[in-house]
């Protein structure tokens, strides 16, 4: 393989990468990356900066503290999972991966002061695959809310909350 062919191959790879990234940005729900022309999904939850996250331990501490503002907690994932176990005091809004769920979320918080402390969570599946938390976070920030945190659930709500013996409620 001569130098000219190598340059052509590199150019093709770079152009392919650029085209793929452009296609990804046009998609509101997922972002795609490219490896040798193969397309694969990158879930948006992983793009949330750590400054916008709150760990389960931190949230439990806030909830159990006699002082300090308590957040409005909203589960933005699966209703069936919510019914089996959810954070006491949290509300179910609907999957934020759907427009219907987002509309419900916006309606719920519309009348709230934009400085309201809000925590959103899901826990349906591994963080890297969660389709719900990023759209919910985006929606709240677009409405002007300034104190929004996303509960970081690495694996699922069972493993990262219930199994840790954190407070749990059942039903609707």
């Amino acid at each position: 393989m001569n130098r000219s062919s190598i340059k052509q191959a590199i150019t093709i790879l770079l152009v392919g990468t650029a085209l793929s990234v452009s296609a990804v940005r046009a998609n509101a729900q997922t972002r795609l990356g490219v490896v040798s022309g193969a397309m694969f999904p990158i879930y948006q939850a992983t793009s949330l900066p750590s400054s916008q996250l709150i760990n389960p331990e931190e949230l439990v501490e806030i909830l159990q503290s006699p002082k300090g503002e308590k957040p409005l907690m909203i589960q933005v994932g699966s209703h069936v999972l919510y019914q089996q176990a959810h954070i006491p005091g949290s509300e179910y809004i609907g999957p934020a991966s759907s427009e219907r769920g987002l509309q419900s979320l916006r309606a719920r918080v519309e009348s709230l002061p934009r400085s309201k402390f809000i925590v959103i969570y899901c826990g349906c599946c591994p963080w890297s695959h969660c389709p719900n938390v990023k759209p919910a976070d985006d929606a709240l920030r677009a409405m002007g809310f300034t104190k929004v945190k996303v509960l970081y659930i690495a694996s699922n709500f069972g493993a990262d909350w219930v199994d840790k013996d954190y407070p749990v409620a059942k039903g609707d």
Binding site: K7, I10, T11, L13, L14, T17, G33, V34, V35, S36, F40, P41, I42, Y43, T46, S78, H79, V80, L81, Q83, Q84, A85, P95, S97, G123, C124, C125, P126, W127, S128, H129, P131, A154, S155, N156, F157, G158, A159, D160, V162, K170, G171
Partner: protein
């Protein structure tokens, strides 16, 4: 320096791609396969997508792979084609895969069923079903039941399909449970 820039950019593109691939396939900490005790699988009667009632106990004598999943769960969707293949391959030997959808309603499930040409029954699960099985608080979760109706394995999170296949073959051969 000018000659090195294209090579450097190509290396960056490849490295970025490899990073994203690893993120896609990574199984986060906590998603471990856990063998459970040889307990009898809780029975249930749930509607399938045609409205008929499916009784789990009617499958006693078969090796059952009970898959809790949902159409919005990407790792679940990834497993479905593999389950279809397993049903094709081992159905004649006594394997029965049953999907328990944890979707909020059957409409998206029916659409998914058609599109993915699923070849095994899917029932609509609910919170009670999840609680019967110890709490289905994340998806996917799969239970393998031996011919005697006892749970021989439980898998939390997506795992390599070869693991399922080995366990299925073992259960089919043993006649009672894993060898």
């Amino acid at each position: 320096m000018k000659k090195r820039i294209p090579s450097a950019l190509a290396l960056i593109a490849v490295a970025a791609g490899l990073y994203f691939v690893s993120r896609h396939h990574a199984v986060p900490g906590g998603m471990n396969s856990a063998a459970i005790e040889h307990s009898l699988a809780p029975d249930f009667s749930l509607p399938d997508l045609t409205g008929h009632t499916l009784d789990l106990s009617s499958y006693r004598g078969k090796v059952v792979l009970l898959d809790f999943w949902a159409t919005w769960c990407d790792p679940c969707r990834d497993e479905i084609p593999h389950f279809v293949a397993l049903q094709n391959k081992y159905g004649g030997q006594g394997l029965q895969i049953i999907g328990v959808s944890m979707d909020d309603g059957p409409e998206p499930v029916r659409d998914f069923y058609q599109r993915f040409k699923m070849n095994y029954p899917v029932v609509m699960g609910n919170a009670k079903t999840g609680e019967l099985y110890g709490g289905v608080l994340g998806l996917p979760i799969a239970f393998l039941l031996g011919r005697d109706g006892r749970i021989s394995a439980k898998h939390i999170g997506a795992i390599d399909i070869s693991v399922f296949e080995k366990e299925i073959v073992s259960n089919l051969r043993s006649g009672v449970g894993p060898g």
